[in-house]
Symmetry: C2
Subunit: 333 residues, 2 copies
Amino acid sequence: MKCKRCRRAEAAVELPSHHSAFCPDCFFVFFRRQVTEGIHKLRLLSPEDRVLVCVSGGKDSLVLWDVLMDEGYETEGLYIDLGIDGYSGRSKEKVQAYAASRGKTPIVVELAKEGIPIPEAARCVRMQECSICGTVKRYFFNRVAAERQFTVVATGHNLDDETARLLGNVLHWQRDHLARQHPLLPGADGGLVRKVKPLWRVSEVETAAYGFLKGIDYVTEECPMSEDATSLVYKEALSRIEDRMPGTRIVFYKGFIDPSNPLRKGAEAAAAPEDDAVEDAVGATDADVEERVGTAGACVECGAPTYAETCSYCRLKERVRKARELRAARVAR
Amino acid sequence: MKCKRCRRAEAAVELPSHHSAFCPDCFFVFFRRQVTEGIHKLRLLSPEDRVLVCVSGGKDSLVLWDVLMDEGYETEGLYIDLGIDGYSGRSKEKVQAYAASRGKTPIVVELAKEGIPIPEAARCVRMQECSICGTVKRYFFNRVAAERQFTVVATGHNLDDETARLLGNVLHWQRDHLARQHPLLPGADGGLVRKVKPLWRVSEVETAAYGFLKGIDYVTEECPMSEDATSLVYKEALSRIEDRMPGTRIVFYKGFIDPSNPLRKGAEAAAAPEDDAVEDAVGATDADVEERVGTAGACVECGAPTYAETCSYCRLKERVRKARELRAARVAR
């Protein structure tokens, strides 16, 4: 099959949802246009921004960093070493190798040094790894950005990730989660940095193809902790629907973020606080969320924005510390 | 495994979404309670109602008729012979045999006699069979009910049917369809009879188990025209999610019909007109739908409620008639 854009070269990537097929060079143009249009339509970034790109070593975040650099944005990469045997080391190597190839050195946060490596923390407090990981990563994304004067945090979530999350939220009508799901979460006073998802318009297949054709070397293994993640169930369900009805994902997501969607009413007000800051208050209702906009205080432990006295990260860390002490005391006895 | 209700007999039906398992007798109690609670909670039926039960010969509609009779409702069955070779005849036999076993004779409408058998009509007007079938069935459900003084039309749609439809409507944010999806569609002046779906709380597996254990003989083959129906794609996707997370379907559906759901705002007003009456006006917006409530006129051809001059059934029939004439003229030449 010939490329549908230049009509000369052989097509390398077929995209049923766009009724199209591209040769590598035309696909690069197409992909970058998808990303930049996604950025401009929702005003995710401006040329003055200093962008902290959160890179895991996987395809999505490295591709995101790559495109943002190519588009001329001022960026640095942040890698959080989760402390997962083998996987974390291999991921870090990929991040460092990619960064070096672009003359960069990533910022690295090591959770083991911070006293909260994910696998041990999960065992200590008997929580799902993915849940802890989310809290800890969001905390450091914001803290590093605030400390180092970045104006925005960018993550590599793609259309498949966002629609899987959306499907889960819709199936359970999680109104507060729905109100805070958007490619743009505005910043707020008190050190809450804006968060954006510039890859919201591109699918996982497209991102993988871009990374592969660009020769970006990324970790292909899934995080060993995420095997039972429910998001994979939603992702697979949507994949089957997309296979039969190409384009369903983008219609689903665009229709959701459309301001006329009744589920988005009042969402802009609710979007401001960081996910965890909102979740800090136990049993928060939608009305609470709206009330709390702009009134976040500082965590008494670390100064991070929170609506509670202590932020969820510090409370988690304290629970891990206590569990560890208890275990040490048991061993000593 | 023992029955979780009587704790004596062997369980015959396991229901993960209810964390339960029942012997046949206890399952009958459970199932009938699910249906009657579904009826009472949404006030679908009252003891004074004359219920026209639409029976296809499949498990859902025969089980519905069975339960409604057992619960003491005054019912008659309506069978629409779609004119599909083999399938329609076998379905009619099942309906007649079941009706006879309960001392009933079903009302039968033969689409071949009405001049609009589905397969030929679909060929003539080059439309999807399922789409034509929906229009024609809804028309006769309402017409037979209105002519014979039934107060309500009941169909056998179960939780799997309704959630598959809901998923399709949500994935495409079909606001007007969402506004009109509910187990209760109120009647309206001008001959529009109330429509209810009393099986909305029970799953396909539960309905099949009830039919099987009750010894109801139903057609097990799918309609040969429905092979490509997109609803099956949504149904399958939800089945996979339900398998992994039992209870997802009922949470999804209950959360949707909850009056506090923003997607249901204004839905009660929009629910009144019959689906086809609303769809009669091409390019109708939500605002139009609300405006049109209570102002339906009578079809100039047949007197059925419609917002156009001629109802969608009569327009369809006219298109079929013309296509048939054209074909006859071609053959004659």
